[in-house]
């Protein structure tokens, strides 16, 4: 049992942090609101990291925490989620994806599809495991505007019937077994949680800095107990969620029996931490936290959306309850 980072993992975190600070600063992110080409530039700068998608889930989650911290735009996350599916069906675009030349995204059931405008391929999966890989221009997508400036979301209304009606010609379509699909879903929950936790960490650090600098009643507001206790609870939520993500990622790598429980727990903890932190971040910033000009809004918007994708807290708790009340036979 070891939760400490290996030297390689520490190096991964440090280099990813520096690269993203350089290529995806707050001002870059702000420029991206009106200029989508910036997402492509950010994606190109991350090409060397494409193989993270086939690394251990722990390494992937450490990288995604930094990606979320920067709230980086572009299809890096979407591609990382798609890779295990491409691996499972041994798809021939896999090599190009891992060199960073090709990007992909995933539509699972009726869920929203991240960053589909910037990818080359879309992997469509049905809840029963039917899977099709399409080039983007062959799939009819509609943009779904959300509060999130950093990631664009889309939907393909016919995704269910398209896959389950088995209308796709045989040979073009594959089918995942339940275990493979379950493993992919668990890993996706851990990865989505890692990205969300990173964004929450960014908001907490901005709020801490503000509380130390902003003075009222001739004192830093961070010296007041009401503010201190809010920040203590925010920090506890973040630490708890971060540990839950690391644990979940390790269960994915070790394929342990408690993997599904750990991954549902990680996303539930991440949702709760992110929502608590974004609410108190605005509150502690006061009026300025409520403005468009302040950078906080870009991170809290990504977190607001992130907490509703890949399972809300209620949904994950319902899945945990299923495991507790009717544990699957071993």
């Amino acid at each position: 049992m070891d939760f400490t980072l290996s030297p390689d993992q520490a190096l991964l975190v440090e280099t990813a942090h520096r690269l993203l600070a350089d290529r995806c600063s707050a001002s870059t992110l702000r420029a991206h609101i009106d200029d989508r080409s910036i997402a492509t530039q950010v994606q190109q700068s991350l090409a060397d990291y494409a193989p993270v998608a086939v690394a251990d889930c722990t390494d992937a989650c450490l990288f995604l925490d930094e990606l979320g911290y920067a709230s980086a735009p572009g299809p890096f996350f979407a591609t990382l989620i798609a890779v295990p599916l491409l691996q499972a069906i041994d798809h021939d675009i896999l090599n190009a994806v891992l060199t960073g030349e090709v990007a992909a995204t995933v539509g699972f059931g009726g869920t929203l599809i991240p960053d589909a405008d910037l990818v080359d391929y879309i992997v469509l999966v049905s809840p029963s495991g039917a899977i099709v890989v399409e080039t983007r221009d062959t799939v009819e997508l509609e943009r779904v505007n959300s509060v999130d400036h950093s990631r664009r979301w889309f939907r393909y209304a016919k995704v269910h019937s398209y896959l389950d009606a088995e209308s796709t010609p045989a040979g073009h379509r594959s089918r995942l077994d339940a275990a493979t699909l379950g493993a992919w879903r668990d890993r996706s929950h851990a990865c989505a949680a890692a990205d969300l936790v990173g964004t929450a960490r960014r908001m907490l650090s901005m709020t801490l800095m503000y509380a130390k600098q902003r003075e009222q009643f001739a004192k830093p507001i961070g010296s007041f107990q009401a503010i201190q206790h809010k920040l203590a609870d925010m920090a506890l939520g973040l630490e708890r969620a971060t540990a839950a993500v690391h644990f979940a990622a390790m269960t994915v790598d070790a394929k342990t029996d408690d993997r599904a429980f750990a991954c549902h727990s990680a996303k539930a903890a991440a949702n709760d931490a992110a929502v608590r932190i974004l609410k108190d971040a605005i509150q502690i910033h006061g009026g300025v936290g409520f403005t468009w000009e302040h950078d906080l809004q870009m991170y809290l918007r990504r977190a607001t959306m992130g907490a509703t994708q890949f399972g809300t807290t209620t949904w994950h708790l319902d899945q945990i309850a299923e495991l507790l009340f009717a544990p699957p036979p071993r």
């Binding site: 801490l208 010296s223 920090a235 506890l236 630490e239 708890r240 839950a244 903890a269 708790l317």
Partner: protein
């Protein structure tokens, strides 16, 4: 990062399991809930004193210590495995924690060469200790304590009052914090003494707590004579020891707190099934949230374990202390909610397990108050971990 334990650690676990299988007293064979037993029984049952001595003699009382102090020089990871196994099987080491958990490490770190003779009996349970910390006007603000000691030749003369002193009515020694210099800033005028509870001038008055039991007391000191040789550490150097004492108290508590929370999750599922709430989505989600909390806290405990294990006063303890105590309280409250109109019934016949849930709910406040309240933990997190300025 990896989930697997080393071969040596697995071997350690097997040795412990084998020792427990062969030696656990029948009273604890299926787990022992001290809080339930104490209400009608002895404060320190004799079988439990024998068990504590047995653990000591076999090197299983504090595994990280050397054999002469009841251990086997185990590594910090092995210490955690030990705490996990004991908690999972609900096997107590002792009911009276102050001696082995607080006094012993404080004396090892700060005591004189002569005072080291007190350490082994404290860990073995041969000597029962209480800790004189809180006073009527010094609770969370421990530095404001007023009980004073004045030098008189080779002795100090103590006067004052302590309160919430656990096990004072059965203790033979008190590790007592007193003011030795009233003219300096409050934290700089405190000293620690070993006080013999048989000394003339000590009056112990048991306090019943909220459930009706009495395991703590008020202690009054009137012109109590204490030899100067019983001063622990430097004169006026007691504050540093108080900080260490609390750290020792917190260091291993999270393992027990998390294990208890995990056990409570299973009890809640069972309770919901027996009381027709297994399909109640509100109840199911609350139980699931409790399970999620237990799981993430275990992960956080492991993550912070490097500093916990070293017994240092790592402020990260505060995260675990705050979260596990509050989650425990909420879990017992949830049990009462599942019981509905029987939630507060303690009737031996009509009540669920004679009111176990409401009694545990009350007792759980000890965890959010003692050893630094939840509010003090938030102050520590804000100031020592997050670096916010003192208010």
């Amino acid at each position: 990062m990896r989930l697997a334990w080393s071969v040596a650690d697995d071997q350690f676990r097997r040795e412990l399991e084998a020792f427990l299988d062969a030696n656990v007293p029948e009273q604890a064979a299926n787990g022992f809930d001290f809080q339930g037993e104490a209400s009608g029984g002895e404060l320190i049952p004799s079988w439990l004193r024998e068990w504590q001595a047995c653990l000591f003699d076999n090197g299983w009382m504090i595994p990280g210590y050397p054999p002469e102090l009841g251990g086997r020089a185990a590594t910090s990871v092995q210490t955690m495995i030990y705490l996990e196994v004991m908690a999972a099987r609900r096997i107590p080491r002792a009911t009276h924690f102050p001696g082995y958990a607080i006094v012993a490490p404080s004396l090892i770190e700060y005591g004189s060469a002569e005072q080291q003779i007190f350490v082994a009996p404290a860990i073995r349970g041969d000597t029962i200790w209480c800790i004189g910390m809180s006073e009527p006007d010094a609770g969370s603000d421990l530095g404001a304590l007023k009980t004073k000691a004045v030098r008189d030749g080779d002795n100090f003369i103590l006067n004052g009052q302590k309160v919430w002193t656990s096990y004072a009515m059965v203790a033979s020694k008190c590790f007592c914090y007193v003011r030795t210099d009233p003219d300096v800033p409050k934290h700089k005028g405190i000293s620690a003494f070993i006080v013999d509870m048989e000394s003339p001038g000590i009056d112990v008055r048991p306090l019943r707590h909220i459930t009706g039991q009495a395991d703590f007391a008020e202690v009054f000191f009137t012109d109590v004579m204490v030899p100067a040789a019983n001063l622990v550490g430097p004169l006026n150097g007691g504050w540093a020891i108080t900080q260490g004492s609390l750290a020792h108290e917190r260091a291993g508590l999270w393992v027990e707190g998390v294990a208890r929370l995990e056990q409570t999750v299973h009890s809640l599922v069972d309770l919901a099934q027996r009381y027709g709430k297994a399909q109640d989505s509100g109840i199911r989600r609350k139980i699931a949230a409790t399970a999620e909390m237990a799981s993430s806290l275990r992960a956080l405990g492991y993550k912070g374990f490097a500093s916990f294990a070293q017994g240092s006063s790592a402020p990260e303890h505060s995260f675990m202390k705050l979260a596990s105590s509050e989650a425990g309280k909420a879990a017992f409250e949830l049990g009462m909610e599942i019981l509905g109109e029987y939630g507060a019934v303690v009737d031996a016949v009509a009540g669920e397990d004679a009111g176990r849930w409401v009694t545990s709910f009350y007792i759980s406040f000890a965890n959010t108050i003692a050893g630094g309240t939840s509010e003090i933990q938030r102050n520590i997190i804000a100031q020592r971990i997050l670096g916010l300025p003192r208010s």
